[in-house]
């Protein structure tokens, strides 16, 4: 039976069909749907882990006990998991261990666009690279077999246009793994990576990669040569292959289903069969560099194809047409100027608790070390209330480090802001540092009770597991106190005055402090009934009172807009325009009403 599956759903299905019993992930676009989908299969234990390093370690443990395990993350997640990854390459596995890493060329939802294919050479771990849904399913299933046969973790590399592309997939039934369950206490030299044993495994790793190279050449069914017109051959992989095939279907192709190790004999074969070769790869020239190093002449690669951003069929056509057909293709002249249309960037939801909090930070004129999550949207004007953001947890260390330079001068001027999920992911380490080494930074935890930006995933602080079962919930206050933070404050972000006062006091304190927002659930988290805490269903602008001062527009609420047009207030003051609230969009949070100094925004009974 064929069904249309998203690439991520197909990966989950492939793992399920291959008899996977454990799945671990930390959510991250574009990888999040894999574990969410896998959690729907009752035969599989799945979890949202606190971070990717933990996820991989749990998956490795499951593998040592004989279970097939899958661990999923976005590209930057693999940086977190790199420590166990590099040594799991040495210990190898028992049950198949597959690590899915989803890249984001073009940075649709990411802070960088690193090419994860580098991990495969660096870590001496094979990597498969599917191009569409069917391959996502098939490659994931095969990855478990490769893992067990060669005693290696296997990387499966996806990317935005593979993970978030839907295509028809042929479904099969689940097959349980034959691997006996259990732990073997006699395998110390294989699993205890102290230097004396690790040196021996270091040799094993090289031997394994040599065997995998032969496998890539002789057995792996997805390194394919398609000979059409032999005057030109393309070497490509993943979705780049599909784009190139779309534009130049008449030529020959070598499609690499395994990004590493490379099939040397097949490559030699291909160079014999075609006259000239162009390598098409997204981001870095990994294949190109390696194949050149083998001594082959590559006609074109990154000399023509951009190394920055995602590829598209249009880019392939634009940059390669001259080299392929001799004719340059110029992008068609646009009929209509669309650059001048007003942009529509993403925004925080109406009623979101981050909005008043960042308004408070702006009023306090703090330098805000931000983090990864919806709250990064606070960087957009008119709020413009975030001044540094690097990676998960980085803001906490950053704020503390800046204080070490500024000393007394910096007090009252710096804070760190991060979400609940992000704090548990990577925020406790730097907070511990700030306390232990005498920093004065203030860390504000925006507790919206969920991992919001990636689409509502549970985490150790929400009180629920991935399957929705009740679980222990981390108590942030106790956790902060246990780390040695003496000053932990709770704040209601919807009360702007109180929020400003608390933050001002803590930011000026000569000691590390933590502020936790309370009763501030994500507006999309239905079980918390986020609107129930608001006293009024919605607000309206009293057109008799509004002066058109635009103060309420500073919070960038999607429900509030400005309408130009001369008018006069009840008290006879002239105005050039006035604010308007769209009742359909207003959530009733009342933040704008607190900001208005002229009693121009009034609650409606609904």
């Amino acid at each position: 039976m064929k069904r249309i599956l998203q690439g991520n759903e197909a990966i989950a299905r492939g793992a399920w069909e291959a008899g996977v019993v454990v799945g671990c992930a930390y959510p991250g676009t574009p990888s999040s749907e894999i574990m969410a989908e896998l959690s729907e299969y009752k035969e599989v234990y799945t979890e949202w882990s606190p971070n990717e390093k933990v996820a991989l370690e749990v998956g490795h443990g499951a593998s040592l006990a004989g279970g097939r395990a899958i661990v999923c993350m976005k590209h930057v997640g693999l940086n977190i998991a790199a420590d166990p990854l590099m040594t799991i390459s040495y210990t190898g596995v028992r049950g198949g261990l597959v690590i899915v890493v989803a890249d984001d060329p073009g940075q649709h939802s990411s802070q960088n666009e690193q090419d994860s294919r580098h991990w495969t050479r660096f870590g001496k771990i094979p990597m498969l690279e599917p191009a569409d849904g069917q391959e996502c399913k098939d490659f994931t299933g095969l990855a478990f077999d490769i893992s067990e046969r060669f005693d290696t973790p296997v990387l499966v590399r996806s990317e935005t246009r593979v993970s978030h592309c839907d295509s028809p997939v042929e479904l099969q039934e689940r097959k349980e793994s034959m691997m006996p369950k259990g732990l073997d206490r006699k395998e110390i030299p294989k699993y205890v990576m102290v230097p004396m044993y690790a040196r021996a495994r270091r040799v094993f790793v090289e031997e394994r990669m040599a065997k995998l190279a032969s496998y890539a050449d002789e057995e792996f069914p997805y390194n394919k040569i398609e000979i059409n017109d032999p005057s030109l051959g393309f070497i490509s992989s993943g979705v780049s292959y599909l784009y190139t095939k779309e534009i130049f279907p008449q030529y020959s192709f070598m499609k690499l289903g395994m990004a590493w190790p490379l099939p040397k004999k097949l490559i030699a074969d291909f160079f014999k069969q075609v006259k000239k070769v162009i390598v098409v790869e997204e981001l870095d020239p990994l294949f190109e560099t390696e194949i050149r190093a083998m001594g082959y002449k590559i006609r074109h690669g990154k000399d023509l194809i951009p190394a920055i951003g995602e590829l598209t069929p249009a880019i392939i056509e634009q940059f390669l047409s001259k080299a392929v057909t001799g004719k340059r293709i110029k992008p068609a002249k646009p009929r209509f100027k669309t650059e001048e249309l007003p942009a529509r960037p993403p925004n925080m939801c109406a009623g979101c608790s981050h909005r008043p909090l960042f308004y408070a930070l702006k009023k306090l004129r703090l330098f805000v070390f931000g983090d990864i999550g919806c709250y990064a949207l606070a960087v957009s004007p008119p709020l413009s209330a975030m001044h540094a953001s690097t990676c998960m947890g980085a803001g906490v260390g950053g704020a503390y480090g800046a204080g070490k330079v500024l000393g007394e001068e910096g007090r009252g001027k710096i804070c760190a802001v991060l979400g609940d999920s992000t704090f548990l992911h990577a925020g406790t380490g730097p907070l511990m540092d700030a306390v232990y080494n005498g920093g004065y930074s203030t860390t504000i935890i925006l507790d919206n009770r969920i991992t919001a930006m990636t689409g509502q995933q549970e985490h150790p602080g929400t009180g629920f597991t991935i399957k929705g079962d009740p679980a222990e919930a981390v108590d942030y206050e106790q956790l902060a106190r246990a780390l040695g933070v003496k000053h932990v404050r709770m704040v209601d972000p919807y009360n702007i005055k109180e929020t400003i006062d608390v933050i001002r006091e803590e930011a000026n304190r000569d000691a590390a402090s933590v502020i936790i927002t309370q009763n501030s659930p994500c507006m999309l988290l239905r079980r918390s009934s986020p609107r129930a805490r608001f006293q009024h269903p919605f607000y309206e602008v009293d057109q008799d009172m509004c002066l058109g001062c635009r103060q309420c527009l500073e919070i960038n609420c999607p429900a509030i807009s400005y309408r130009a047009g001369k008018g006069i207030t009840k008290s006879g003051r002239k105005r050039k325009g006035s604010a308007v609230i769209n009742g359909d969009q207003c959530a009733g949070c009342g933040v704008c009403a607190q900001i208005c100094e002229f009693e121009g925004i009034v609650a409606q009974p609904g």
Binding site: E317, C374, P558
Partner: protein, 199 residues
């Protein structure tokens, strides 16, 4: 719909939260059942928070790329007027345009720093003449009691461009992809949309 075996390109655009993904899923299911190869691509995550959202949807005998090339869109289906206009240049000269007659102000317009484009329909007509259809998706959805189903109203209107598919094939997909409690309202929305335009 599928003349000379060429892969057909549909471009869906709208604002995060308008339900474009459900529509592309329904479209995919119908066309898969009808025996086509289908690929569609959309970006999830950050863009969903009220930002512009787009879906590249392609179907045919054998579809390679999930992404469409600018200038090769056969059907532009937009759930919001400005978001339709933004992708005008993606259409082929003979392309067809289906617009939901709905304006959602982007922040810069809300702040009074930019103007919402005037006469979106007229702009499209200048280039695409009679190949432009405007549907009051929101009003129709409101009249049947749920503004949530405006997306399916638009799908119903768009379904007119697939004469080889009968209404039952569409409603079957609605039943296959949506929970039972939503069948009735969505099928009603689909039928109202289907009756709203003539091609």
């Amino acid at each position: 719909m599928l003349d000379n075996n060429r892969t057909k390109n549909i471009f869906l655009s709208g604002v995060g939260g308008q339900g474009t993904i459900l529509v592309s899923n329904l479209l995919g299911q119908v066309l898969l059942n009808a025996g086509y190869d289908v690929k569609k691509a959309e970006v999830h995550g950050m863009a969903q928070r009220g930002g512009s959202v787009t879906t590249h949807f392609r179907f045919g005998r054998n579809v390679y790329s999930p992404l469409i090339k600018q200038g090769e869109v056969d059907y532009l289906v937009s759930f919001e007027l400005l978001e339709g206009l933004r992708y005008l240049n993606w259409l082929r000269p003979e392309g067809k345009v289906i617009l939901n007659n709905h304006r959602i102000l982007p922040p810069s317009v809300g702040l009074g720093d930019a103007e919402y484009p005037k006469d979106v329909e007229q702009t499209f007509r200048k280039f695409f003449k009679e190949n432009v259809w405007v549907v009051g998706g929101r009003e129709i959805a409101k009249s049947i009691g749920s503004i949530q189903v405006a997306n399916v109203v638009i799908l119903g209107a768009f379904s007119n461009f697939f004469p080889e598919l009968n209404p039952e094939q569409w409603t079957e997909s609605i039943k296959a992809l949506l929970p039972a409690r939503l069948h009735e309202i969505n099928i009603l929305a689909f039928n109202e949309g289907r009756a709203a335009i003539a091609i």
